[in-house]
Amino acid sequence: MLEISNINAFYGNIQALHNVSINIKQGEIITLIGANGAGKTTTLMSISGIVNPKSGEIRFNGEVISGKKPDKIVQMGLAHVPEGRHIFPYLTVMENLDLGAYLRKDKENVKKDLEHVFDLFPRLRERKNQQGGTLSGGEQQMLAISRALMARPKMLLLDEPSLGLAPLIVKQIFDIIKRINQEDGTTIFLVEQNANLALKVAHRGYVMENGHITLEDDAQKLLVNEEVKKAYLGI
């Protein structure tokens, strides 16, 4: 469904991604783990068209998307929940959610999807008229995921959804991520530093170091891989 082939991305003269290749099949949950500064966010930003790789190619459902503008990429069914959530702080929860459906014309289905995300995260329904910036961190993450779901994406890109959240909220959010995958059939590309957690929900995983993909395997196998255990699982 998503094929990243040998992309190289730069910030000025600094190369952030080196020949990165990642393959994601429809219906999968794939995780990309790696330390701070490994290039995980840059990988997601390249998919969404915010960062333009100098070489290599990204295809979504067979169509080349590298070089396309971000709005065209969203239109094709990719929704991105960025690192740090990026809630619109002075818009209400409702307005944030509406904007998630910015490109959609099927207003009837948008209403249904709104109900759907409120069922997933009842907390948001209670706070729908509150300004986004006043939500707690956990609520903001719920809103960020819900806003992306309002685009009715075929594939969801999640950048460190567990960042800075209490374990209980993290568990709740990861349960929802699994549900989105199983019940709605949404393909998920999950970037995480919390490798233990990510490998437990994912089908397959990639490990990134200094802009290079160094490992790729079934999530179960990565969980028992000696190197991964040492470097990322703290065992």
């Binding site: 969404s48 068209g49 915010i50 503008k69 971000p70 709005d71 969203v74 239109q75 991105h80 960025p82 740090g84 990026h86 619109f88 702080p89 002075y90 818009l91 307005e95 509406d98 904007l99 998630g100 910015y102 490109l103 806003r147 685009a151």
Partner: protein
């Protein structure tokens, strides 16, 4: 009492014009964090366009209301085209450059447009026809509030309401708010940010053109330099109210208008600018972000 009222209404009229121009500064700043120094020139070009069209239509013998409407529409279209083009050639290529570069480009654009009009026209003041008729129902109060002033104030109020509704409820208005708050996220939800920026310049330029026509009609003369003066005043109003804030720009403009009007009326017209800028300095000392501005912790 009459004198106070006259100064109050005069200040309201001035403030309305400042508000029309200040909105362009504040909206552009809100979206691209750029002080568009060429904005005053867009206002001046609006006034000149209206003058040229009005002169032609007067020769053709149209009545003054028809001339006013057509000349204003032409000014809005022409100024919008300028605003749109200035953004495309002078700012867009520098969007990822250091902040100083687009600022210098803006000053360059301003100087270029001033001199271009100076060469195309003259440096002399040109008479601008009075197109707003004296309304009969304004007769009893016309010594303190003229028909032209009424038109300026009420047009501005209507435009403010329309703009507020536009930004609150239309899709492009919501996209503008989203872009102002978080540009990366706006891109990630599929907003065409380039288009939002263009629309912002077009709206700002249209309002400035409208202000240009109204004030030219009121004062009765224009030259290539009026954009510079009005631009600085409107920019002051935008900063006073909190640059980036739409209600702030209107509030700042009205406060500035009243300050100038009362200073002129009760002290001396020599002190008009002194009071205006003293007020700005005072407010910035006590509220650095302006009256309604958000403190600099915003945008993540």
């Amino acid at each position: 009492m009459d004198y106070f009222l006259e100064l109050f209404l005069g200040g309201l009229t001035r403030g309305s014009i400042y508000a029309l121009i200040a909105l362009g500064y504040t909206m552009v700043y809100g979206i691209v964090q750029l002080i568009n120094f060429a904005h005053g020139e867009i206002y001046m070009i609006g006034a000149f366009t209206a003058l040229i069209i009005a002169s032609v239509l007067t020769i053709l013998g149209l009545n003054s209301i028809a001339i006013l409407v057509i000349a204003t529409a032409a000014a809005i279209v022409y100024s919008s085209a300028y605003g749109y083009t200035v953004e495309k050639i002078a700012y867009k290529p520098l969007r990822n450059a250091p902040r100083l570069s687009p600022l210098i480009s803006a000053i360059g654009m301003s100087i270029f447009l001033q001199n271009y009009v100076l060469l195309a026209q003259t440096s002399d003041f040109l008479p601008f026809p009075r197109l707003i008729p004296e309304f009969a129902f304004m007769e009893p109060v016309s010594h303190i509030f003229s028909s032209a002033e009424l038109v300026i104030v009420s047009t501005t109020m209507i435009v403010m309401v329309l703009l507020t509704l536009f930004i609150k409820f239309t899709n492009i208005g919501k996209a503008m708010r989203a872009t102002a708050q978080d540009k990366t996220m706006a891109l990630l939800i599929g907003i065409d940010v380039d288009r939002v920026i263009s629309v912002t310049f077009i709206i700002g330029s249209s309002l400035a053109a409208l202000g240009g026509v109204l004030i030219a009609n009121h004062i009765g003369q224009i030259n290539f330099y009026i954009g510079f003066i009005a631009g600085i005043k409107a920019f002051t109003a935008a900063v006073l109210g909190g640059i980036g804030s739409i209600p702030g720009a209107v509030l700042g403009a009205l406060i500035l208008g009243w300050t100038e009007s009362f200073a002129t009326g009760y002290v001396s017209s020599d002190y008009e600018d002194v009071f205006a800028f003293a007020l700005l300095v005072l407010i910035l000392i006590f509220r650095p972000a302006g009256l309604l501005g958000k403190a600099e912790t915003k945008k993540v």
